[in-house]
């Protein structure tokens, strides 16, 4: 199938093991970075997601053979990624556009309005 003949696979074995070790190292780095407990939320998120993206790229690219697939799969995935990004970004942007200080938790002792029962 596509680029995977018997010999190709044998050559790739070292690569797969290498990716595996890289993933383990990535996990260790993520947890270690977490122990620093940054005060800044932005830094925490950036560091965590950056390493996660690298790990994801390794799994998708090598374990899932994406590096050797042709246009068709890329087209499907790029379309998906675009819509996924749209869903995330637009939803959060809409939240961001709400009046300052809007939260969904009202805080202690929300006032009970004096309405009658139905």
């Amino acid at each position: 199938m596509s680029a995977h003949t018997h010999d190709d696979v044998r050559k790739h074995l070292k690569l797969y093991i290498g990716v595996f070790l890289a993933l383990l190292v990535g996990t260790a780095i993520t947890v270690y970075a977490w122990t620093w407990h940054f005060e800044s939320v932005a830094v925490t998120i950036t560091v965590a997601l950056f390493i996660a993206c690298i790990k994801a790229f390794l799994v998708a690219g090598y374990f899932m053979h994406l590096m050797s697939e042709r246009k068709t799969i890329y087209a499907i995935l790029l379309t998906t990624v675009f819509f996924f990004a749209g869903l995330m970004y637009l939803t959060v942007w809409s939240r961001d556009q709400m009046p300052r200080g809007t939260t969904y938790s009202v805080g202690p002792n929300p006032p009970v309005p004096s309405v009658g029962t139905r």
Binding site: H6, L13, F20, I76
Partner: protein, 277 residues
């Protein structure tokens, strides 16, 4: 006439049918988990405060390592089948399934730990969380209130807060490093009348646990589904079908493996987002 390209790839796409099918399915799964992740973001951004330190990071790290290992064994199972070593392939496939079992077992223990962990907010504003060592015979929880009786709590944290605030609200005022420290305070005996709000860590406790259980629960269901498929392939390895139609069987390993790697991919994002952020 047979359906073409079930085993041999089509020239212009370079793919056999099932591979197109599984990638399309994975695309829809990206949208499914994406919707849950965007819900997570929305809920967290809209929350007064978000709990920290409630999930066990060493256990989560262990589970991450388990899934990563299962991914490499899956690749090796497929690679060995391609290289003509069905026996070795079967062993790797078996290890993959066992890793799945280990992951789910650890997850079950994690869930159980949450179900026996209670957060208690007292009328005077004290918030505390921990395990219930013993409870009086007439003690019962209805909704988020305790009707009568008393309980003895082994608290992990005891914080002072304004009446009506949650543990997360109180913790939010602490510096970042303090939030992850687990103390072990001395036992407290609490009467039902002192309790303003009590709940164990279940989905109804807060949006934090609601989204945690939903995301990890859906992921665990996918792990379970993947394990069923891989177990089926494990047993199929020994059958005549795998010996005579080797290429078709190898394709099934590849397609099943793609799903399994996706499950691993989701966890690669789930772990930092839920446990570390």
């Amino acid at each position: 006439m047979e359906i073409p390209y079930t085993v041999q790839p089509r020239a212009d796409t370079g793919l056999f049918n099932a591979k197109v099918g599984i990638w399309l399915f994975l695309a829809s799964e990206v949208m499914l988990f994406g919707a849950l992740f965007s819900s997570y973001i929305l809920l967290r951004v809209g929350a007064n405060s978000w709990p920290h330190g409630l999930l066990n990071v060493p256990i989560g790290t262990f589970n991450t390592a388990v899934l990563i290992s299962s991914s490499i064994t899956m690749v090796l199972a497929w690679a060995n089948m391609k290289m003509g070593n069905p026996g070795l392939s079967r062993i790797y496939l078996g290890i993959t399934v066992l890793c799945g079992f280990a992951f789910l077992g650890v997850k079950t223990k994690e869930y159980y730990d949450k179900f026996v962990h209670y957060e208690v907010r007292l009328v005077d504003g004290t918030v505390t969380d921990g395990h219930i060592k013993e409870r009086s015979g007439d003690f019962a929880i209805r909704g988020f209130k305790a009707e009568k009786g008393s309980l003895v709590l082994e608290p992990l944290n005891v914080l002072h807060a304004n009446p009506g605030e949650s543990m997360a609200d109180a913790m939010a005022r602490l510096p970042a490093k303090e939030r992850y420290a687990h103390h072990h305070e001395k036992e407290m005996t609490i009467e039902a009348s002192q309790i303003r709000w009590i709940s164990n860590y279940t989905p109804k406790h807060s949006p934090y646990f609601a989204i945690y259980f939903t995301l990890t629960g859906l992921h665990a269901l996918h792990v379970f589904g993947g394990m069923i498929v891989l177990s089926y392939l494990f047993f199929q390895n020994r059958l005549a079908f795998a010996r005579t139609q080797t290429e078709r069987y190898t394709n099934r390993l590849e397609v099943g493996g793609l799903f399994w790697h996706f499950v691993d991919l989701v966890w690669i994002f789930l772990f930092p987002v839920l446990y570390l952020l």
